[in-house]
């Protein structure tokens, strides 16, 4: 009887697990529910009001990367469309003190809007206070200063759909391996909600949606500089891995070089973010099978739109998430355009010919 019951329980749980595809939602830094970024629109009247307002905006970034460039381009394009002048742009080089100086500096231009990604959310209140107190509309990417209230202190947060990114990475891995095989899982071993949610979503997707696939090896990476050692160890201990998930593209390149050094051509890599060397390996038929990218350009567009709208009475949702796309050999051109709003680099275009 007891035995029968336990079998029942196992069956039930198996059934439950496979009844639906992995479900999960991305949540904001304060547990906010995500709203699709595409749902945010301005009415023609609102747009005209913004244009008439002769507003100005400053872009106070945390650092400059390909990702920030895409966000920046999206914001600038949207502001241009709405007749909002961008009066300043800064780069804090990941230094909170510099970001504070940058906010103070751009305040001399009396901007109506500041868009920013806080270097250090926990202590960012002192960074943005001069702008908040002056009534500047603050729009944030990914995160907001601790203690700030949405609606009064800032307009909104726009971010990736983190769960969706991890989920799409899981699906891409399954497609690459024919929905079966052993997978290695290299996750970001730090308390950082962006990577934590993406990594978790990948794992959940593989475990719940693909019964013939198994996560055979796990390794946490705290320091990206050590990713090659981690990959080396994983490949040595599990030479039969069919695929490896890596938390983002830079360390994935280390994994790639470890695989190449071992003469391994069969283990597929799936990772997040577009990156030229990784994409080049992918189009040349190397180990990289797919790159999941967020629509960074849309983050900029959405944030600019929400912040400009707030000047004319629009009530923005607390947390918008943009879509992501799984870029494979076949879709690399469209992926580049969609994510970064740029043409694919010449090296990759050449390799595809």
């Amino acid at each position: 009887m007891r035995k029968a019951l336990s079998i029942m329980t196992v069956l039930a749980s198996l059934f439950a697990a496979h009844a639906f595809a992995a479900q999960g939602v991305t949540t904001g830094p304060n547990g906010e529910k995500p709203v699709p970024a595409a749902s945010l629109t301005l009415t023609a009247a609102q747009e005209q009001q913004v244009k008439d307002g002769k507003f100005t905006a400053a872009l106070v970034w945390h650092e400059m990367s390909e990702y920030t460039n895409a966000v920046n381009a999206g914001a600038r394009d949207e502001f241009k469309r709405l007749g909002v002048e961008v009066v300043a742009q800064t780069d804090a080089g990941f230094d909170a003190a510099r970001q504070k100086a940058d906010v103070e500096t751009v305040m001399a231009k009396k901007p109506s809007i500041i868009l920013s990604l806080p270097v250090d959310p926990a202590t960012a209140a002192s960074v943005y206070d001069p702008a908040r107190q002056a009534g500047v509309k603050l729009g944030f990417v990914d995160n907001c200063p601790a203690g700030y209230k949405q609606g009064t202190d800032y307009v909104t947060i726009v971010s990736d759909d983190l769960f969706q990114m991890g989920n799409k990475a899981g699906i891409a891995m399954a497609e690459a391996l024919g929905k079966k095989g052993k997978v290695g899982y290299i996750f970001h071993d730090a308390d950082f909600y962006v990577t934590n949610q993406r990594d978790g979503a990948f794992k959940k997707t593989i475990e719940q949606d693909y019964p013939d696939m198994k996560i055979a090896a796990e390794a946490g990476m705290a320091d990206p500089a050590r990713s090659e050692d981690i990959a080396q160890a994983m490949i040595t201990q599990h030479p039969d891995l069919d695929g490896i998930y890596v938390t983002w593209a830079e360390p994935a390149l280390s994994v790639l070089s470890a695989l190449r050094a071992a003469g391994n051509k069969h283990t597929k890599i799936v990772t997040l973010d577009l990156n030229e060397p990784a994409a080049l390996d992918m189009v040349k038929g190397g180990n990289i099978a797919a790159l999941v990218a967020d629509e960074a350009y849309s983050i900029g567009v959405t944030l600019a739109r929400a912040s400009a709208g707030s000047l004319v009475g629009l009530k923005a949702e607390p947390f918008y998430a943009v879509d992501s796309i799984a870029v494979t050999k076949e879709t690399v051109k469209e992926g580049w355009k969609k994510s970064l709003n740029k043409d694919v680099p010449a090296t990759i275009a050449d390799a595809m010919k």
């Binding site: 742009q89 230094d95 103070e104 001399a108 250090d120 202590t123």
Partner: protein, 323 residues
């Protein structure tokens, strides 16, 4: 003979009033005027913006004072950026558990201690300061990361934050007080004391200093300790201003400090320098950052223009010295 004498007299007068010595002041003035005209409608000339520049550069100015001593003695200190982070974190953590006084001691103490380590290795183990401080730069960057596991620490003690960065006295922000006091003391020690003269002699000709009875190792130890202590003070100022400490503090400051000191007329090889020049150099760096942002340039353009201006200033200030 007397005519030849007059000739050298005139030549020497000319060399005493050469361009090099004043390039930093002229450069500062030129850049100021340029921004004042170009940005007249963009708030550059407001008291708020100008005082912001001074406030933002205060930690760099404080570090630059230390580096003038170090470079005048013919040494270099690359570890100042890492010291800033260690000192700020040490202070923040200590304030949280033991209060403000202990926090100040911990922050300054950390800076002085690292400076002493640098100095002892340079003066008594006779390793080149470039290599010693390159190594301690990396070492203490690691220490600052491990101190709090990359976490940032808030500083909520309002007396501390007021005293070191956020407050003001007699209507003047505390960071301006710190700048003025540090420059005054630094200038006095550098120009008007035996120690300052011995620092210059050591950097100019260590052998001559040594046979003149100057303890060259002690001077080397002292300048690196001063630099460490002032970098520690800069760390406290950052912590006070940001009301928090993080391992990234000071990380990007080293190049700015070196540029400010060299543009300010201090020789990389020692023997000659200026504290007031370093202040003006530091303000010039801050003004460049500020003005280029206000001009609405993209980040990459800001970096290019800033680089070109610093290059020009350094080239002009070094051209004459190399003869």
């Amino acid at each position: 003979m007397s005519s030849a004498n007059t000739g050298t007299e005139v030549g020497s007068l000319a060399s005493r009033f050469n361009l090099q010595q004043y390039v930093v002041y002229l450069g500062f003035l030129a850049i100021f005027l340029f921004f004042a005209i170009m940005l007249r409608d963009s708030g550059f000339l407001t008291v708020r913006n100008l005082s912001n520049i001074v406030l933002q550069t205060a930690p760099v100015t404080i570090m630059a004072i230390g580096l003038v001593f170090v470079m005048s003695a013919g040494e270099i200190d690359l570890s100042i950026g890492s010291i800033v982070a260690v000192a700020a974190l040490a202070a923040a953590v200590t304030i949280a558990s033991y209060g403000m006084a202990a926090g100040i001691v911990a922050g300054l103490g950390a800076g002085i201690l690292i400076g002493l380590i640098n100095g002892a290795l340079v003066a008594y183990v006779r390793l080149p300061s470039f290599l010693v401080t390159l190594a301690t730069m990396g070492l203490f960057a690691g220490v600052s990361r491990s101190m709090t596991d990359l976490r940032s620490i808030s500083v909520t003690n309002e007396i501390f934050t007021g005293f070191f960065g956020s407050g003001s006295l007699l209507g003047v922000p505390s960071l301006i007080w710190w700048t003025v006091i540090a420059i005054a003391i630094g200038h006095l020690v550098y120009r008007e004391t035996r120690f300052g003269a011995h620092v210059l002699a050591t950097g100019d000709n260590a052998r001559a200093a040594s046979v003149s009875g100057i303890s060259v190792p002690k001077i080397r130890l002292a300048v690196l300790t001063i630099s460490g202590g002032l970098a520690g003070l800069a760390g406290l100022l950052y912590a006070g201003r940001l009301q928090a400490a993080k391992y990234t503090l000071g990380e990007t400051d080293l190049m700015t400090v070196i540029a400010a000191v060299i543009v300010g007329g201090t020789l990389l090889n020692g023997g000659k320098g200026s504290i007031v020049g370093a202040l003006v150099g530091s303000l010039m760096m801050g003004m460049l950052n500020n003005g280029l942002i206000l001009m609405g340039l993209s980040v990459s353009d800001q970096m290019i223009v800033r680089g070109l201006i610093i290059l020009t200033a350094v080239a002009v200030s070094l051209r004459d010295k190399s003869r």
